[in-house]
């Protein structure tokens, strides 16, 4: 495969092949979504996959703002939550027979609810960009959080709004009682929403969103109103966030004010950024990884957000392009068929980093144990061992792991970097292939 050299002179045939490959990717994604429930058998796995699907839609909608539009929002969960609340109320009405609305259409109702509020709040907040936009989004989020305490009937106070999806009328006789059935509903909407969001990013207004993000002044000179471009992106993002909220209402059958709070907005920022805001698949990867870590870690430790926060800060400081960006960096090596040479150095560095991570986790968990859980016995189960945090030995052991791991990484990381540079070197040394970087 010599695409690395032919790509700069891409002709019609290559463009055709690229398009075919893109359609192929979507078809493959649809097949994977259909096949996944056949591969897993536990109820927990299905529940986690449902959660992931919702998170992916939410994160993709968030990236329409942050990645594609350059708008940092601290209140995106407002549209998710309001869409969810509206969907839950409509589902209740439908269950009582007041209106006819089957469950599969419900996410659309949530989406329209999110859209309505995005139009309302977007009308003034998108007049600004950058820090001021972020401030307004925070203000709106706090406003809604405070309002939720007042409007008891709509938000249901502390208990939130509960609903029952099995009471709604059926569409084509499809019931939605089990998680597995809900999975297909979520998968369907995930696919449709992702496709629509991808299509949006290819439309002229989606392209202009990128232009306004990079250079608003120049976009204005070309003849586009930056406010209107931001407003359209904002409304679209609110719509898809509402769809995610509607899916949430169907899946969990309960919504509380927490679902639209600052923590929820922060979580979507974390997952989108960890995945990478520079590419379309970034938020997908981020949402899957974040949800997986969240559900796995919360089984073992109460401090899961601490670890995710560390992961987030590490991403911000050292790999701002996110996980997807790191994967993209390896495209040249992959095309040059030299990716195999990286396995050895990467495994070595990764193993040493893992050693350091185990040491850090051990130390953190022991600090937590000693500081907080007084009198809860002398030992703690950690890494499948019984450990006595009130003795010196485990502290020395974990500290030694940190030191060994860190020193080892310091020694091997430059070698891995050299191997990476060697592998990504173009086959014919003309110039670096332009597709190597994330297209931020």
């Amino acid at each position: 495969m010599s695409t690395a050299t032919t790509r700069p002179f891409a002709g019609a045939g290559v463009a055709h092949a690229a398009r075919a490959r893109r359609y192929g990717l979507w078809v493959a994604a649809a097949l994977v979504l259909l096949m996944l429930p056949q591969l897993v058998h536990t109820g927990t796995a299905i529940a986690i996959m449902n959660q992931m699907g919702i998170a992916v839609v939410f994160a993709l909608s968030y990236n329409m703002l942050l990645g594609q539009g350059g708008m940092l929002s601290f209140g995106h969960a407002v549209y998710f939550g309001l869409g969810g609340f509206i969907a839950a109320h409509v589902l209740n009405l439908s269950g009582r027979g007041a209106i006819y609305l089957p469950v599969p259409v419900l996410p659309l109702v949530g989406g329209l609810g999110g859209l309505a509020f995005a139009i309302l709040f977007g009308s003034f907040s998108t007049r600004r960009a950058g820090t001021v936009f972020a401030m307004i989004s925070l203000g709106v989020a706090e406003l809604m959080a405070a309002s939720s305490l007042i409007f008891d009937r709509f938000f249901g106070g502390e208990e939130g709004i509960t609903t029952n999806r099995s009471k709604a009328p059926l569409l084509l006789g499809l019931p939605f009682t089990r998680d597995r059935e809900v999975y297909y509903l979520i998968a369907f909407w995930l696919f449709v929403a992702a496709l629509a969001m991808y299509a949006f990013s290819r439309t002229p207004v989606g392209r202009m969103a990128n232009a306004v993000r990079d250079n608003p002044e120049r976009a204005e000179f070309v003849g586009y109103s930056q406010n209107r471009v931001r407003f359209v992106s904002f409304c679209a993002a609110g719509f898809f966030a509402g769809i995610a909220g509607g899916l949430f209402a169907v899946n969990y059958e309960i919504l509380t004010a927490e679902n639209m709070g600052l923590t929820a907005s922060g979580a979507v920022l974390l997952m989108t950024y960890i995945g990478g805001i520079g590419s379309f698949v970034g938020p997908v990867i981020g949402a899957v990884v974040f949800t997986f870590l969240q559900s796995m870690l919360s089984d073992y430790t109460g401090m899961w957000l601490l670890y995710l926060g560390i992961l987030f800060l590490t991403t911000v400081l050292f790999v701002p392009m996110g996980l997807a960006g790191v994967l993209m960096l390896h495209a040249p090596a992959w095309r040059a068929r030299r990716i195999g040479r990286l396995v050895g150095p990467y495994l070595l560095t990764g193993a040493l980093a893992l050693v350091a991570a185990v040491g850090i986790i051990g130390l953190l968990e022991m600090i937590h144990f000693v500081a907080v859980s007084e009198g809860a016995g002398a030992t703690k189960r950690l890494f499948w061992m019984a450990i006595a945090p009130r003795t010196l030995t485990p502290w020395l052991a974990f500290a030694a792991l940190v030191v060994v791991g860190a020193l080892g990484v310091r020694w091997t990381a430059p070698r891995a970097a050299v191997a990476f540079a060697e592998a990504s070197r173009p086959a014919v040394a003309v110039r670096a292939a332009p597709t190597g970087k994330a297209s931020l």
Partner: protein
Amino acid sequence: MFQLIFFSILNGLVYGMLLFMLSSGLTLIFGMMGVLNFAHASFYMLGAYVAFTLGLHLGFWPALVIAPVLVGLLGALVERQGLRRVHGFGHIAELIFTFGVAILIEEVVQLVWGRPAKSYQVPALLDFPLFRVMSSSFPAYKAFMLVVAVAIFGFIFVILTRTRAGLIIQASLTHPQMVAMLGHNVPRVFMVVFGIGSALAGLAGVIAGPVLGTFPGMAQVLGSIVFVVVVIGGLGSLTGAFVASLLIGIVQTFAVAMDVSVGGALAAVGVPVASGGALHDLWKVTIAQVAPILPYVLLVLTLIVRPTGLFGTRET
């Protein structure tokens, strides 16, 4: 009625001056570096927790001095090792970074001190009512808070306007390149200001912890309000931060003290309100319930009507 107004003003002053201790650092940091520090209130929380732990061993008064210094050093470290690194990626990246720091500090606080609130007590020396007006009394500790806050205000004012260091800081606010040309180490000025700002936030935490409570959510409770203050006052303006702090402090204290419902208020003016109906919840709302919303309504209004804030000279 007099009693209500008198104590509301006093409490509003105390709360407002406390807000100023936080917002002064935040607005200086913003004015200099263009960074809206999301973790500012987290330093306030750290101040309270560190002082609580130090207080157990050393007592309140040494903690009052040591805790802000420790928090300030940590702030300087965050600036030196973290913020300076992401500075090249632009303001959005900086905002995201400080947001991450805020999450991390909140989690670390829970890691070390646990989730339940700590019983951080007012020192025995100040635990008496200072004076009584009719049936209510005013605690001496609140007067102490007021004194500390006013002293800090005077301190900042004198440093910024009367000393050479203050002149350099003021110059770095508006003309960082020129200051650098004159041979000053502007990044170090930034680090020092960030450290001092964090220390002030820490000090606010030390003195507010016993009154407003020491719990892992305390940063979130105050953090957003401080943002509101800084935006309303005008980003980068110390005078604005001062006026807005007092404004928000007094408005909120008054609103909390009023137990009048919206429907009742309308009825008093002569507008009859039907009970029940779709807006039933709205008529039942009391002014006290609206109090938490007020700052954010003010924030959104300010950003729409006058984005530069009361005393600000520039946007963003």
